[in-house]
């Protein structure tokens, strides 16, 4: 579904991604790990079309379409979802209004009629239970005054509502206590199917205990320098990144 070839990107003339190659197929879970500043969050920002970043080379194909040519909202309609590391608070915009607008924009994109208020609320209720999101949160402004855990659960709730084909979870485990981590991971696993795929960006093996990856990639200095099965995550947990850094730096 996703084919990234030699992707290069910069922010304010600073080159962050220096040639990423990655292919994701339906049903797969990919974990992307790597030391701080290696470009993990940049990759998710570039894939979702954050205007702060400039793509300087390479290509991204998503179900045969040139992803980089699409606006962020059209990427969402086509089935791309990002769970933010730091979900944004939007005072004054209620979760209900926000989600209804998002769903109806997607339906409009595919030439469908807007969802009726009753059907929409039913859907909200149904999806809320997946991440045990309190009804009170759903009626409040988007992320405003939410705790760290509630914000992350809210991200997965939105993912459940939008039913994306490819979800990128950007450090979804950061700021979560153990119980919240389990709830969030269960939510992700519930939504998993043979038709959708997940890219998990994380620093820790802990999340991967719950969301089992098929592949683990190590991002370093804007490139994927190592790819392997889930056992790589365990090895990193034990040995850290230094041995990979040395290996890569000595080759250069």
């Amino acid at each position: 579904m996703l084919i990234i070839k030699d992707l290069q990107a910069s922010i304010e003339d600073k080159q962050i991604l220096k040639g990423i190659n990655l292919t994701v197929k339906p049903g797969e879970v990919h974990a992307i790990m790597g030391p701080n500043g290696s470009g993990k969050s940049t990759l998710s920002a570039v894939l979702t079309g954050n205007p702060a970043y400039t793509v300087t080379g390479g290509s991204v194909e998503f179900y045969g379409k040139d992803l980089l040519a699409l606006s962020p909202e059209d990427r969402a309609h086509e089935g791309l979802f990002l769970s933010f590391q730091y979900p944004v608070e939007i005072p004054g915009v209620s979760m209900v209004n926000f989600m209804r607008t998002a769903l109806n924009e997607k339906r409009k994109y595919f030439g469908q009629e807007p969802l009726s208020a009753a059907d929409f609320l039913k859907l909200m209720r149904e999806k809320r239970t997946i991440v045990q999101l309190d009804n009170k949160l759903a009626s409040r402004a988007v992320n405003e005054g939410f705790s760290g855990g509630e914000k992350k659960r809210n991200e997965i709730f939105q993912m459940a509502m939008l039913e994306p084909k490819l979800s990128i979870l950007d450090e979804t485990d950061s700021g979560l206590d153990i119980d919240a981590l389990r709830v969030v991971a269960n939510g992700v696993n519930t939504l998993k199917s043979k038709d959708n795929a997940t890219i998990v960006i994380t620093h820790y093996q802990r999340l991967l205990d719950y969301i089992k990856p098929d592949f683990v990639h190590v991002l370093y200095k804007g490139r994927i320098v190592m790819s392997a099965g889930p056992e790589l995550a365990l090895e990193l947990e034990e040995k850290g990144y230094d041995w990979i850094k040395e290996q890569v730096d000595s080759q250069q």
Binding site: T48, P72, E73, R75, A76, V88, I90, N97, F98, L162
Partner: protein, 449 residues
């Protein structure tokens, strides 16, 4: 150039006609107004408190003045009916400069007095004489001009202890088939422990003519009274409005004034509040949504003349295209007024690089033991929030609309009239969606449509 001169000349020529068709108490003040105008000049752009606004240019246009009180419309109550859902108001109209009541006006009968000055001068001469022209300052040439030419007005009186059950709604309509200036004038007297909610809506029916509403409102809030005054404008690019609201607050009174501009041409709103009694509360709210070449300028002055009072003002502007907004607010705390709390906020969004906002907050404090603050900010829509919404599939235009709506939401939520609050959320949504037409937003929908 002196734009005032044409109106002074008109007065001198038509004095007899003007006075014959007005109650005597209006005529008594004309002489004073005439004296003030002798040496007065309308402020030009750049004068003190007029950093963005040129009143001279606004009044220089050759407007018609209906000196002989010719009727324009037989009865606007016939042509309009109230269209605010769930809000059962007592409805009154002013068509250009003439007042009309509607059958719904009888709902408050026996409680609240709403009469044109011509009637009130006969029915309530003591009140009219005691309060007419007492608060408004003739040092402001627009107030002097109003006083010089005004021939009728609306008197609203809530007797002591009366709590008006239904809100009073006054729909002001411009519908003359010629360029025209009117002097609207309101005198509102709310007795001890009495309470009333008022909604004034300014509308313009014809987009083709230049209209100027030069308005003066005087509000007396007696001891322990509660007053809500909502003042909404939804007019046309050729409509100009200069409005001055003067408030006198006695002990323990609670006054909310909310100025809302949805669509207009040129607007200058002055709010002048004298807090004269202890434990009085003042809430000033303002919301402006402007696009195209709209110009909205608000000037507030709250003078705390008594201890232990509380005032709070918040004005928000959303400016797009080449719209110009201005806000100048001053809070004065006089000597020997301890324990005053006074807050002022002005927050603005410039949604386009060509939109302009001028803002000037001022505090002047002569007592030690007070809590006062002011804050003023001009910015753009939050880029992070926009991107977040786009990743959820909300298009950029829709995302901008939601953020702009959210920005003004708290000002709308300050409205203490639920039906109006809901209606405003709806109108603002339509306004940002660009589907607000003269008819749909009009609270007095035309029966013909």
């Amino acid at each position: 150039m002196n734009a005032l001169k044409q109106y002074i000349d008109l007065y001198d020529e038509s004095r007899e006609a003007i006075e014959q068709q007005s109650p005597a108490l209006l005529n008594n003040l004309r002489r004073v107004a005439r004296e003030h105008l002798e040496t007065a000049r309308l402020p030009r752009k750049g004068s003190e408190d007029y950093e963005a606004t040129d009143l001279e240019a606004v009044f220089a246009h050759d407007y018609g003045v209906n000196v002989n009180r010719l009727p324009f419309d037989a009865d606007p109550a016939e042509a309009f009916h109230c269209d605010v859902p769930n809000m059962s108001t007592c409805l009154y109209y002013s068509s250009n400069d003439a007042f009309h009541s509607s059958p719904t006006a009888e709902r408050n009968i026996g409680q609240v007095v709403v009469e044109p000055f011509s009637m009130a001068a006969v029915d309530y001469p003591e009140l009219m004489n005691a309060y007419y022209g007492q608060l408004a300052r003739m040092t402001d040439p627009t107030v002097a001009l109003n006083t010089l030419l005004v021939q009728d007005g609306l008197f609203i009186y809530v007797p002591d202890g009366v709590v008006a059950e239904r809100p009073i709604q006054l729909v002001n309509i411009f519908n003359a088939a010629l360029d025209m200036m009117v002097q609207r004038r309101l005198l509102i007297v709310v007795g001890k422990n009495a309470s009333i909610k008022l909604l004034a809506c300014d509308h313009t029916q014809s987009p083709d003519y230049h209209y100027l509403n030069n308005q003066v409102v005087e509000i007396v809030a007696m001891q322990g009274s509660t007053i809500d005054y909502y003042d909404m404008e939804e007019s046309t690019p050729l409509t100009r409005r200069v409005s001055s609201i003067y408030v006198d607050q006695h002990e323990g009174s609670n006054v909310l004034i909310d100025g809302i501009t949805l669509i207009n041409g040129f607007t200058r709103n002055n709010y002048h509040v004298e807090v004269n009694g202890e434990h009085a509360e003042t809430r000033l709210l303002g919301m402006t949504i402007a696009s195209g070449e709209q110009h909205v300028d608000s000037h507030t002055f709250i003078s705390h003349n008594a201890p232990r009072c509380h005032s709070n003002e918040m004005f928000k502007y959303v400016l797009n295209d080449s719209a110009v907004g201005a806000f100048a607010g001053k809070i004065l705390v006089k000597p020997d007024c301890p324990r005053v709390e006074a807050y002022q906020g002005n927050r603005n969004i410039c949604g386009a690089p060509t939109a302009k906002m001028y803002t000037k907050p001022q505090l002047e404090i002569y007592t030690d033991d007070v809590m006062c603050s002011h804050g003023s900010a001009v910015g753009q829509l939050d880029e992070d929030a926009l991107f977040y919404m786009r990743t959820r599939g909300i298009g950029i235009d829709e995302a901008r609309r939601l953020l702009m709506q959210a920005f003004v939401a708290d000002v709308i939520d300050g409205v203490r009239l639920d039906a109006l609050k809901d209606r405003l959320h709806y109108l603002v949504e339509k306004r940002f969606a660009g589907t607000l037409s003269n008819c749909s937003s009009c609270m007095a929908a035309c029966r013909k449509n």
